[in-house]
Symmetry: C2
Subunit: 241 residues, 2 copies
């Protein structure tokens, strides 16, 4: 029996070619995150910082991934995912987000404690397992942080008009729809200040000198948020006055 991999309308055979190591999978995932929706080129140093690694290690791995045609890599010019590479990255992200959803919905974890465990679970290799989990969870569209969960075929349902809180203008009324999941301390901080998914806030003032922002909650409470914080919150407009 032959196995196939269906990516972006292309059918690749010999799926065994895509049995990657944890490390390789982490590289693909991080390149995907860094290159964003517009598929920016990702620089070696950027990747090194995100993967807690050194530039020289990144260069080595990029050459290896380029050899496998998972990234397009040009010396001194950074890298990009190929269609194959992106297809795999999306499947890893699917696994990560489904496991996070499982941990929160079924095992009663808090949304701020699931990231590290999902980092491990995302490397478990079984299509049947992940599709069964998807079914068990009733095909969720978004994970506990508000990020979209890619489906079996890698299709991602983006929420329309999601932008960073830091990009909003004064007086906007917005709903929090996602939080960058990387830092457990940030998540705890937000939880403590009641800045949870689905809540509405209004931007009161923006301070140029340190790029911070003052916002108001639904209950009237006001709060100052640093540059760091507002860059890690994704919002959707409710209305603009």
């Amino acid at each position: 029996m032959k196995a196939y991999l269906f990516i972006k309308g292309f059918l690749f055979d010999n799926i065994m070619e895509y049995q990657l190591t944890h490390s390789e999978e982490n590289y693909l995932k991080e390149i995907f995150h860094l290159s964003g929706v517009d598929a920016f080129r990702v620089s070696t140093n950027n990747l090194a910082a995100r993967l807690n690694s050194k530039a020289s290690s990144i260069t080595d791995m990029l050459q290896k991934l380029a050899e496998k045609e998972l990234v397009s890599y040009v010396k001194y010019k950074g890298c990009n995912l190929t269609d194959k590479g992106e297809g795999i990255a999306v499947q890893i992200i699917r696994k990560h987000r489904l496991w996070e959803t499982f941990l929160v919905m079924k095992l009663n974890f808090g949304w701020e404690e699931v990231h590290d465990i999902a980092e491990q679970l995302e490397h478990i290799d079984s299509t049947k397992l992940i599709d069964s989990l998807d079914h068990f969870l009733d095909y969720p569209k978004f994970d506990p942080h508000g990020d979209p969960i890619p489906d079996k075929d890698g299709k991602i349902t983006y929420r329309k008009a999601k932008i960073k809180l830091s990009e909003t203008v004064v007086n906007s009324l917005v709903e929090i729809v996602s939080v960058n999941e990387d830092s457990a301390s940030l998540l705890t901080y937000l939880e403590k200040n009641n800045l949870v998914l689905g809540i509405c806030i209004r931007i009161i003032e923006k301070y140029e000198f340190d790029k911070s922002m003052r916002i108001a909650l639904e209950n009237g409470n006001e709060l100052n948020l640093s540059k760091k914080v507002i860059e890690n919150i994704g919002v959707k407009f409710i209305s603009k006055t």
Copy 2:
């Protein structure tokens, strides 16, 4: 905050010392299985066969594990788990069996397809995860193959008087309580012949020349089972005539 490891009545601190690699964990688990309840010494070649590895690789790893005081190893004389090593092995087995139970009970997997996935999941490192899973599954005592699931403290509830089907005498009436989980093809074979957990069979005849056996099912059907098969089925006596 300090973390502790409670093993067989001893309290070990500095749990970080026990962050083992997948490979190390697999060695401990396999030594545990091979040395059985009576803690037999396990030979290098035996381990090599079970781990699909070479004797020289085993020697290397045993020296490393002895260094960490997880096995007691004597040159040319094989190895044994220390209390620490056994405590860790039992926790890995706990994880393996809980995940198998999850796959069968919640994700509707067949009992014969869960072993390979559980081999991966057993290495996920999170005490909170596994304890939550245990709770979610309502603290099961036995896994889908009939093997006992160690509890949080490593205690194992053995079924009394479990022996191999091959060790029974003619005319015994026994209940199938476990099946050695290693071979998917064996499991499929048993399923096909309705030899599932909990079923009762009677031993009709034993053949010395090839160590095979003829048995009868509850519905009267008779069946010949090879040496290989009857050595991999665990049973409990119901009565002996």
